[in-house]
């Protein structure tokens, strides 16, 4: 009886028509048995952008496609592929947009230079505020 109610609740509650009827992929919500590999996979997942979400990584998204991508990442890491290679493979298909970690391409250099430049500008602005040389 309980199972029927559960089943009915699940059917009646079919939330959105944008979800498939298949369950999530095997590795989308399971951890790899090797903790080191799982840590690698998780670190990579936090850097990959969810394709169908409003600015989330695939690591904390409930979207199905994000789940399938987590499955992809875990399977490949379990097979021995390096995280950088997987990221590059995805960038090959979706562009740099999919990587939250800015790549080393020229378009991203200003981002890395920004803190340094801002510090220098700030230091220059305050150069006269602080007495660096002791006056007589």
């Amino acid at each position: 009886m309980k199972r029927t109610i559960l089943f009915l609740a699940l059917i009646a509650a079919q939330p959105s028509l944008a979800d498939s009827n298949l369950p999530p992929a095997y590795w989308s919500n399971r951890q790899l048995p090797d903790p080191r590999q799982e840590a690698q996979a998780e670190a990579l997942m936090e850097q990959l952008r969810c394709l169908v979400c409003q600015g989330q990584s695939i690591a904390d998204s409930d979207a199905e496609l994000a789940g399938d991508m987590r499955d992809l990442v875990r399977r490949r890491i379990a097979a021995g592929e390096k995280p950088a290679a997987i990221r590059a493979w995805l960038i090959q298909r979706y562009g740099t947009w999919i990587s939250y970690k800015p790549t080393s391409e020229p378009a991203a250099w200003p981002l890395w230079l920004a803190p340094l430049v801002l510090l220098l500008i700030g230091a220059w602005l305050i150069r006269r505020r602080i007495k660096l040389k002791a006056t007589a």
Binding site: L6, P23, S57, D60, W97, I130
Partner: protein, 644 residues
């Protein structure tokens, strides 16, 4: 009728704001003293907008579906508290709350501000009115909250289920009070730039307003972070989402402003910095409002994707910030700075503090808008997210935290007592903490490791100012500073612990199976259907134990019908040394259920730290206001002061 009353009140308030603005010109151009009428008009304006807001709350409380906004954002089945809180859970309602706070802040300034000259006060009130005018126009022309719907539908479209949470009742109002409270600093700065009276008097007048806004902003951000943590179901508490950044930037500016004001008040120095920070703080608030409501940046927080409204807000932003910056450029030459500061002195410490906070602010600003710039220039789309911000803001924050331990020990104008000696114990404790982390967790990332070291050091160092004297005789303002800085250390330690020691377990379990997460054994008992007022759910019953005693947790996966959405309601249990965070997901074809379990040691320190920071601010504010409140001996005294 009620909605129309609200609308009428809003129009009247707008009219008064126009009058207020006009009066400012009359006073500044001529030599008519208009302080008394200005104060009255400002108070009336504040009262009228509060009436308008109250009317909105009433129509929401009654679920009056003939008001379009209520129809679009509410439904009769909602619990009462969300009916009312839903008034600000949408664009128009929250904009009205924004404007109400703006006008009310002006009213309070008119009532209580006594330290500035009357001319500066009039100028400031005029600036505040100018700000209000633009936003009244925006509300009345482009975002009328009181628009009617004929014929009135039977029921509404409901409130987004993610918003049906106590967080909605607390987070936006607090945040807005903070954001918009900063407008007072903006107006006072603009007023002082107009009248040329940028001095320590102005700083002392601005301080309570900045403190108050900053305290509320701290609380608002902390509450928002905790809300996201338990609501989104993955254990994250900060995502560097553009809207989150939009709330962090005013906070950073306000923190720098708070410290800069102290220098201006004590030494009459850093005039330009302080005025600029006051302008930037509220400008960041306006930028935030623009970002959330224009739809130009993708964010889970985005209210409405409406480029037309976005254009209006951008125009307001351009006018207000542009005018303030032009004023600064024009009057900046008259801001004479004094002699440079001694290298090792509190002033210098505060200057470096300002510098670092401004750099963090700049980095967050650049990072948030960079994808836009790149796309405008080259058409390329790139993403900037947590990996970038953590890598850049993290080290800067650590350096800042280290300096926070040193600054309060420095004396004004000179070095004071030898600080290196005082810091020996905290530094030693920091190193001990570092060594311990190396021993118990050799593979820890460098950032959390340094976080432990700096956090421990700061925990000890922040107390030092109290130890130099009898703590019980120390001024309340000093206690405030100590508690706030201590709070920073606590939050830092919480973040480090969360990053380094969180145990995660994602698995599929059948009823009866036991999963291990950290020191816990968690057994899935059963999964049952359940329902609430406007939702149905599956609820998992988990029994968790780590040796002695069993704890029960019941996470749910909820389905709302109105609008149709799915949310996960995590079940969290807090212990002295951490939180057990559990989520139930979808059923698995193997017959089990997806479970997500986390053991997060000391994660609550993050928000406890935030609360302490706010508490410290409150103590400091009390410390400064108490003597004033006590001095109001007689009513005659008070009236004499007021109309002198």
């Amino acid at each position: 009728m009620i909605a129309e009353t609200g609308l009428a009140a809003l129009w009247l308030a707008a009219g008064l704001a126009a009058l207020q603005f006009l009066f400012m010109f009359v006073e500044l151009r001529g030599s008519v003293a208009l302080a008394r009428p200005m104060r009255s008009i400002a108070v009336a304006q504040g009262l009228l907008t509060m009436i308008a807001f109250a009317m909105l709350l009433i129509v929401f409380a009654r679920s009056d579906m003939s008001v379009k906004l209520v129809f679009e954002n509410s439904s009769a089945v909602k619990p009462f508290v969300y009916k009312v809180a839903g008034a600000w859970g949408n664009h128009e309602g929250s904009m009205l709350m924004w404007v109400t706070i703006l006008a009310a802040a002006g009213a309070f300034v008119a009532l209580f501000s006594r330290r500035t000259s009357e001319r500066t006060l009039v100028a400031a009130l005029g600036a505040q009115a100018a700000l209000a005018l633009g936003f009244y126009a925006f509300l009345l022309i482009a975002s009328n909250p009181f628009a009617r719907l004929w014929p009135a539908p039977m029921d509404g479209q409901g409130l987004n289920p993610l918003l049906q949470d106590p967080g909605l009742a607390f987070h936006p109002p607090t945040l807005y009070l903070g954001y918009v409270g900063l407008s007072v600093a903006f107006s006072l700065a603009v007023g002082a730039l107009l009248t040329g009276e940028v001095d320590s008097r102005l700083a002392r007048a601005m301080r309570p307003w900045v403190l108050g806004a900053w305290i509320l902003l701290t609380l608002g951000i902390t509450a928002g972070s905790y809300w996201a943590y338990y609501e989104l179901g993955w254990g994250g508490y900060w995502f560097w989402d553009p809207v989150e950044n939009a709330s962090l930037m005013p906070w950073l500016a306000a923190t720098a402003l708070l410290h800069s004001i102290n220098v201006l008040a004590a030494r009459g120095a850093l005039k330009a910095w302080t005025m600029m920070l006051a302008v930037i703080a509220f400008s960041m608030s306006m930028v935030g409002t623009f970002l959330v409501r224009s739809g130009i940046l993708t964010s889970v927080h985005a209210f409405a994707i409406d480029p037309q409204r976005g254009t209006f807000l951008l125009a307001l932003l351009a006018i207000y910030v542009g005018a303030a910056f032009l004023l600064f450029a024009w009057r900046g030459a008259t801001l004479k700075e004094g002699a440079p500061f001694e290298l090792v002195s509190r002033e210098s410490g505060l200057v470096v503090n300002n510098l670092l906070l401004s750099v963090v602010l700049g980095v967050v600003f650049v990072g948030t808008l960079y994808p836009l710039f790149v796309e405008a220039v080259s058409g390329e789309k790139l993403s900037v997210g947590a990996p970038y911000f953590n890598a850049v803001a993290g080290p800067l924050a650590l350096v800042l935290a280290a300096l926070v331990g040193i600054g309060p020990l420095l004396a004004w104008r000179r070095k004071g007592r030898p600080i290196v000696k005082q810091l020996q114990v905290p530094a030693l404790l920091g190193i001990v903490a570092l060594v311990i982390t190396i021993i118990i967790s050799p593979a820890m990332h460098i950032l959390p490791r340094l976080g432990f070291m700096v956090g421990t050091y700061l925990l000890a160092a922040s107390i030092l100012p109290l130890l130099r004297r009898n703590p019980l005789r120390a001024p309340l303002a000093t206690w405030g500073m100590v508690v706030a800085h201590f709070g920073i250390a606590v939050a830092l330690l919480g973040m480090a612990a969360n990053a380094a020691f969180t145990s995660e377990r994602l698995a599929v379990a059948r009823p009866g199976e036991i999963l291990t997460v950290g020191p816990w054994q968690v057994q899935l008992q059963e999964v049952t259907p359940t329902a609430g007022k406007n939702w149905t759910a599956v609820e998992a019953e988990l029994h968790a134990s780590r040796g002695s005693g069993v704890v029960t947790l019941k996470p749910q996966s909820r389905y709302f019908t109105d609008p149709p959405t799915e949310t996960s309601e995590s079940a969290i249990r807090t212990f002295w040394n951490g939180q057990l965070y559990t989520v139930v997901g979808k059923p698995d074809p193997s017959g089990g259920w997806q479970l997500r379990l986390w053991w997060k040691p000391f994660v609550t320190l993050i928000w406890a730290g935030g609360a302490l920071i706010a508490l410290g601010g409150a103590l400091a504010m009390l410390g400064r206001l108490w003597p004033i409140l006590r001095r109001r001996e007689s009513a005659a005294d008070w009236r004499r002061q007021r109309y002198a």
